[in-house]
Symmetry: C2
Amino acid sequence: MKLQISDLEDLARGAAFLGTGGGGDPYIGRLLAQAAIAEFGMPEVVEPEDVPDDAIVFTAAMLGAPTVLIEKAANGDDIDLALKRLSQRTGKTPDYIMPIEIGGLNSMLPILAAARAGLPLINADGMGRAFPEIQMVTFNVYGISPCPASIVDEHLNSVIIEAHDAKQAEDLMRAVAIQMGLSTLVSVYPMTGKDVKAYGVHYTLTLALEIGRHIRQGREKGDPVETLLAYLRTTEYYNKCLVLYDGKVTDIRRETTKGFAVGHCHIDPLDGNGPAMTIQFQNEFLIAKKGEETVTIVPDLICLVDRETAEPITTESLKYGQRVKVLGVSAAAIMRTPESLNVFGPQAFGIDEAFTTIEKLNAI
Amino acid sequence: MKLQISDLEDLARGAAFLGTGGGGDPYIGRLLAQAAIAEFGMPEVVEPEDVPDDAIVFTAAMLGAPTVLIEKAANGDDIDLALKRLSQRTGKTPDYIMPIEIGGLNSMLPILAAARAGLPLINADGMGRAFPEIQMVTFNVYGISPCPASIVDEHLNSVIIEAHDAKQAEDLMRAVAIQMGLSTLVSVYPMTGKDVKAYGVHYTLTLALEIGRHIRQGREKGDPVETLLAYLRTTEYYNKCLVLYDGKVTDIRRETTKGFAVGHCHIDPLDGNGPAMTIQFQNEFLIAKKGEETVTIVPDLICLVDRETAEPITTESLKYGQRVKVLGVSAAAIMRTPESLNVFGPQAFGIDEAFTTIEKLNAI
């Protein structure tokens, strides 16, 4: 794919949708990416199959609670330093930059990082959505270490972490991120082109861009949600999808705890009849129930959008009285394997319920 | 000086005294050092004036709350890894190992580290006592950075910290240490022989050994506290000293909070007459008051010992009913400069009282 500066608005909207409520608001990320592109030029986007097996690939992301991330922003030097420290520790110079998650702000950060570094960007990520913790990516599921991992704050304090497993790396990074004020830049999962080809979720930059584009085109036609669903049905990963619920937000419980935005929201029918929907979240929406019945569960995607404009709604922008549609969307096949479910299935979030696919839960 | 394996018991006792209640119990450290010396041999001890200006000096220490440190122990591999990671990051191989604090467990750790690394040990440290925080050393006072700083846990997870100032380094190290379970090995303040000569507190291994030796010899004569005081009066740093109080412990408040053992204790006269003594601590004893009157204040040393045997008493071994003598001892001159008082004077511990020397407070 070729990315234009005029694509960034659609890409940001699509990334917000795939953020499933989390991943931070891409708006600031988009502004920062636009500024970086104006200064350094748009990075070339390379398809995963075109990356040489022995190429060195670094990721770039922000780590923190979205409620804090929107208060602060990457200043550029911190991104450069995160890559530099990882390069110093590994003794390797990156050939490519890749997103670790396509959902939310972290779709934009790698564009910014690649533009500043003058490196191409890979059209893939490690989840095809957003997740709250560092170990929750396909690369970890299939044995790639997140370490050495570098983490940098806006004052350019930096930390390199080397842990034995990805969960220990997550715990240490989270402790450092909290101390750093929950607005940090990280570069983790240094890997090779071969790893990206084997374990990445491919073409997700394209998918995010097309999702954002179809929402915009649907608005022009007056049916953004239907236009979006029609597009999703043509995709490789997101083709099982439906409107789970149409209603208004009647209750939100949200707190920033241990570095995460944790809580739940209730949605009632517009006409007041029928069962309510309850959605639980930890940065991202995790499980949606209609009455007592689970209708979508992680790692499948639960996406809230404005019921008129299909604008994606993040957990931090959830408001009482909002009119929303709740969409359920299938995750990529690699995200639903037993190995993957061990790492980011319902149990990983303390939910005592087995994963069942959205197509089975909703007989679609 | 030349250190013998038979000296370690005296050294540990003297280091516990200079720990001023903190620094961890040197007992486990002594056992570990003895085992390392049996396996690797006793390291050569070098006087600071004999270290070449351009020599590379690394420190080795445990970081955590003493109440936790005594539960766990350095396994050797973690010490080696702390030095190795620092070496990798700095690109320098250490020529010497040095204690960062002589008080408590951290007098022994560098012996262990030096024995394992086959390197000589410098007869100096950065405080001539113990302190709870990484920035509270003379090296920081005079502009040496604690970074890069390496920190390792017993599972051999490792972290490298590079912060702009020593307090930020402390905050990040503490956050990591808490996540690591408060039993960590660190190597901080990589420096040169020139730095050690200019800013170190010199000959403190000798001083700790002699303090421990005089307590033991005093016991044989039946007056360990007096023998100890007589020795201290002959030393360069600790020559202003006295028994501040003789009594029994009647109250202890102690909690492990934010990675520190924080609290206070009350001591009443043995005969019940006269004002009580109150001592406040954060890992180390910070201020001793007789009634309302301050009699010793940090960075001067407050040392509790058993009133019969002069065995040093740490904050974690304080017990209700203990019969103790409280000794006040002058700190090294470099520890009392205005620059030093900015970093580890009373205000650094939230004590709203200016530093006054023990000799002025007690007219000695």
